[in-house]
Symmetry: C2
Subunit: 270 residues, 2 copies
């Protein structure tokens, strides 16, 4: 299977590295900036770098993976010319497959790796879930095979589920990352090392995936410890942003705890 | 050093296990319920179990660690009789050392292990930071030595800093745990396996402690992706609780991003 990569950012970079390592043939890499595409093809003698979206003239591929920011997908589609019967898939968690439906004469799909990519940090593709969707069974099989070359966890997923997965990932990763930022800032202001929190964070994470997090929730909000809650809000008086965040999360924890208590009553638990 | 443990809950259980494993001598374990104390001393032929807080009559210890819920500390202090010149320390992140100042004729301290303990789950004491504070240098050294028998990370910490550490831990652990609960519920409702998110959560955590989390923040809130934000709020329409949480966290991420942009301008960054 010959693969074309559209984009030269974080996702594209790790896709090229991962695919080449898995023995797949990357034949062309596109970037608006030729130099960026060339950086990715440097180590690949048989791959072409291009800043043209006319893929009829460049080394043709069977599968094109669009790995550009969501808002850059439509501009790419407007200019791109793909070989007939190619399979074109985007790598976005948010965009529906139908975002590609302006393309004619090709199959379309989604090839969404559920991971956060940074250029400087190697990733372990084997452990990255890849969510696949396609316009026909043959295209789906192509994407599943491509996924399995990279990862041990490749799943078929319709657009509606992928949307739910994406919003869940925002809660589980984007929002938690922000909270870690808040925590680290509080520690830094108190001249305490941020590493102090690392073992506790790791243990909390292990528990959260071993049990239902709602069942192992601890802390002042969960136990209704009003003295500590008020003391914490006073400590945060200098940062109203963090006070509001503290209140919003405390309220949500207590809502969940209340619902669990009600559910317990409803089935006759003590 | 002979050690008395007051309490038989999660913290007390892991303290006893950890101290015995480290070769320390636990001479007495108190619980309101004798049977609970006996459970902890079962494997310790030289330790007494007691439901009396009169520690003059039980096997005397040099250091007493109070490992009961915060609100149970005062009731314990009102009844307890300690040998003269004993060192009495609580294990709370929230209570000041001065909470023990009603005691006379003893030294007082704090011995706060920064970890979440569950009875059924073994802990690796070597990696648990222990925060120590005491009423005099000799008592401080006793607690530091006791801490070092358990852990590689023992730090002196005044009450004001411990409070900041505790509020930071609430953000970094209690709040993130709740968000993982929300994420898992969203996945379960969509009939998706919760393990899908685990690699992404782990990678986010590694990044957060390798870099400043605010610098590596990603997601729709960070990039001001209004289309995705609105789509997510519509997806959460059935759960106003999660909608509000989504809005509060999005607002906070954008406030931080705005502050960073302003700070950049102030120092003349582009």
């Amino acid at each position: 299977m010959k693969i074309g990569i559209i984009g030269a950012g974080n996702v594209a970079t790790h896709l090229v590295k991962g695919l080449v390592k898995a023995g797949e043939e990357v034949t062309v890499v596109y970037s608006r900036t030729l130099g960026s595409a060339q950086e990715l093809t440097q180590a690949l003698p048989s791959a072409a770098a291009t800043d043209s979206l006319d893929f009829l003239s460049a080394a043709p591929a069977d599968v094109y993976l669009i790995a550009v920011p969501d808002q850059a997908v439509q501009p790419v589609l407007q200019q791109a010319v793909f070989p007939p019967e190619a399979l074109v898939a985007h790598t976005s968690g948010t965009l529906p497959r139908e975002a590609l439906s302006t393309l004619t004469g090709v199959e379309t799909g989604v090839f969404y790796p559920l991971q956060t990519f940074s250029k400087e940090k190697e990733v372990d593709w084997a452990r990255i879930p890849i969510c696949v969707e396609a316009s026909c069974d043959a295209a789906e099989n192509q994407l599943l095979n491509l996924g399995r070359a990279l990862s041990q966890q490749v799943v078929k997923m319709a657009g509606a589920e992928r949307k739910q997965l994406h919003v869940a990932a925002v809660f589980a990763c984007n929002f938690t990352n922000h909270l870690w930022g808040v925590a680290q800032e509080i520690l830094q202001k108190a001249a305490l090392p941020v590493t102090l929190l690392q073992p506790l964070v790791q243990e909390t994470m292990h528990k959260a995936f071993q049990f239902n997090p709602f069942e192992v929730q601890t802390g002042p909000a969960q136990r209704g410890d009003q003295d500590t809650l008020e003391a914490h809000l006073r400590l945060l008086a200098q940062t109203p942003q963090y006070q509001q965040l503290y209140q919003a999360l405390t309220a949500s924890i207590q809502t969940t705890a209340g619902q669990k208590a009600d559910a317990g009553k409803a089935v006759g638990n003590p």
